[in-house]
């Protein structure tokens, strides 16, 4: 997502996944994508996480939002690349999207949380924002399944609920590997 932080997310039922990282002209970026990306006229605003406030409590959303903003600010990131599989024809697509934060002071986040927690919560925040961008979500809920906590969402264009998996990692290009474990 930001610098060397990466987020992967997928929705298995409809077989699309997204990968986010800071736009770059360096060799690493080119080796990962090996393709051109489109510049989207859409933008992601961290404050848009409030779109989920019908279904998730304010304190939960606030914690996710501030973690995402902390990392976005730390790495001075104002746009990201999203790579995803298009539902219409299954082809891959990479798009560049501008990102903006609320401009709040975020330095204290690092003191109140561990670095690992920040990356994980930021990952969820960015995963939800990107999901909202690609397929507007009208319902989300969490269920306890065995040892895990499963996030399900319902998009406006489908009657079927889908499982949403998000992970954040500092190891380049390893997010999707973690999800497939």
């Amino acid at each position: 997502m930001i610098g060397d932080k990466h987020i992967a997310s997928k929705s298995e039922a409809l077989d699309y996944d997204i990968r986010i990282q800071k736009p770059s002209t360096d060799k690493y970026f080119n080796s990962v994508f090996k393709q051109n990306y489109m510049v989207s006229n859409q933008a992601i605003k961290t404050e848009d996480l409030k779109l989920y406030s019908d279904w998730l409590a304010e304190d939960v959303l606030a914690s996710w939002t501030i973690c995402a903003e902390y990392l976005l600010n730390k790495y001075k990131c104002n746009s990201i690349i999203i790579e995803h599989k298009k539902l219409s024809d299954g082809s891959d697509e990479a798009i560049s999207v501008d990102v903006s934060t609320r401009g709040l002071e975020t330095e204290k986040v690092a003191h109140s949380k561990q670095e690992k927690d920040i990356v994980e919560e930021a990952a969820i925040a960015m995963g939800l924002l990107v999901t909202q961008l690609l397929r507007p979500c009208i319902f989300i809920h969490v269920l306890k399944q065995g040892a895990g906590y499963d996030y399900y969402y319902l998009s406006a264009d489908s009657p079927d609920e889908e499982l949403l998996e998000v992970t954040g990692t500092e190891i380049p290009n390893s997010g999707q590997e973690r999800l497939r474990r």
Binding site: W55, L56, V60, H141, L143, Q145, Y149
Partner: protein, 319 residues
């Protein structure tokens, strides 16, 4: 996903509370030293999940209902609320949706195989689980009983204050109901049966039920005075208990506490045997209610706010 969840305000609020508490619990998974906060969130999520599952069952959505009962079962199992978890798994079997039966049977088998020796009683949560285990095993304990059993069965010499603090924590998590206290007075601690996913495993057992008086429904019973020693007034205990329960009180209790029984939503606790409403037929009270409801056949009543005893059959000689 049930379409009602998108529209119905009560269901929306429950979904939001459940999801948020599960996320909070997930965040607390990282705290390996103390699981009490995580378990509190899991218990809250489990409680709300059971309530939502019951609402879904009322609108005949057995699939979505089973999904939430299963989530509640896993939440409770993880927090150590084993009786609540077991009731959820049993309820899934009662509903009978094929897709959930295997999970339910595995869950029942898993919980039944847990031995009390597996509890880590060196931790606060372990002591809480041990007390929970004893209360459900003995179907109600006083502070003194609990202290004695903790020593006998777990080798733990806890003070009365410590027992009371643990019991209060269990009550906050809605696993037990307490009558008595405060300070030096004995606590009488009972399993919270009313809020279980299913009460089917507990008929015929005596426990404490907390609620408020909603309606007098004696007229919903066709009465044949064959058993003159059995003279009851019958009330809906509380509309927020799902499925709702009725409470039979002795005529003596009714007559001596007319103000209580005519005050809308008067809060009380009833100690009595859990039965089905049709069981009253044996005593000449044939239910004409549209649903078969669970019944607490009370012999002792307490003011729900002050815990003052307002009726005791043994001392009032009532029927």
């Amino acid at each position: 996903m049930n379409a009602m969840m998108l529209e119905n305000a009560q269901m929306k609020n429950l979904v939001k509370a459940i999801s948020s508490n599960l996320i909070r619990a997930q965040n607390e998974e990282r705290n390996e030293k103390d699981s009490s906060l995580r378990n509190s969130f899991l218990d809250m999520a489990g409680y709300d999940s059971v309530f939502l599952a019951k609402l879904l069952l009322e609108i005949n959505d057995s699939v979505e209902s089973s999904r939430y009962f299963l989530s509640a079962a896993f939440s409770y199992e993880k927090s150590g609320a084993l009786n609540q978890s077991l009731a959820c798994f049993n309820k899934i079997k009662e509903i009978g949706e094929e897709a959930f039966i295997t999970d339910a049977e595995e869950g029942i088998s898993r919980i039944n195989s847990i031995k009390k020796e597996q509890l880590d009683i060196t931790t606060r949560e372990g002591k809480l689980s041990a007390l929970d285990y004893l209360i459900w095993k003995h179907y109600g304990l006083t502070t003194t009983d609990a202290k004695s059993y903790m020593e006998k069965e777990f080798g733990q010499d806890l003070t009365n204050d410590s027992i009371r603090a643990h019991a209060k924590k269990l009550e906050e998590r809605k696993r037990v109901i307490i009558w008595g206290g405060p300070q030096g007075r004995e606590y009488h601690i009972y399993p919270n049966i009313a809020d279980l996913a299913t009460r089917s495993q507990h008929y015929g057992r005596t426990s404490l039920f907390a609620g408020s008086i909603q309606d007098r429904v004696t007229k919903e019973f066709r009465i044949r005075f064959e058993n003159l020693d059995y003279n009851k007034e019958i009330f809906i205990l509380n509309s927020s208990i799902k499925p709702k329960m009725i409470m039979a009180v002795d005529m003596n209790a009714f007559v001596k506490n007319l103000r209580v029984f005519t005050t809308p939503n008067f809060s009380l606790k009833a100690l009595g045997v859990l039965r089905k409403s049709r069981d009253l037929e044996n005593n000449g009270y044939k239910p004409m209610l549209s649903d078969e409801l669970d019944l607490v056949d009370s012999d002792t009543l307490f003011n729900g706010l002050t815990d003052e005893t307002i009726y005791n059959r043994a001392t009032c000689g009532g029927t």
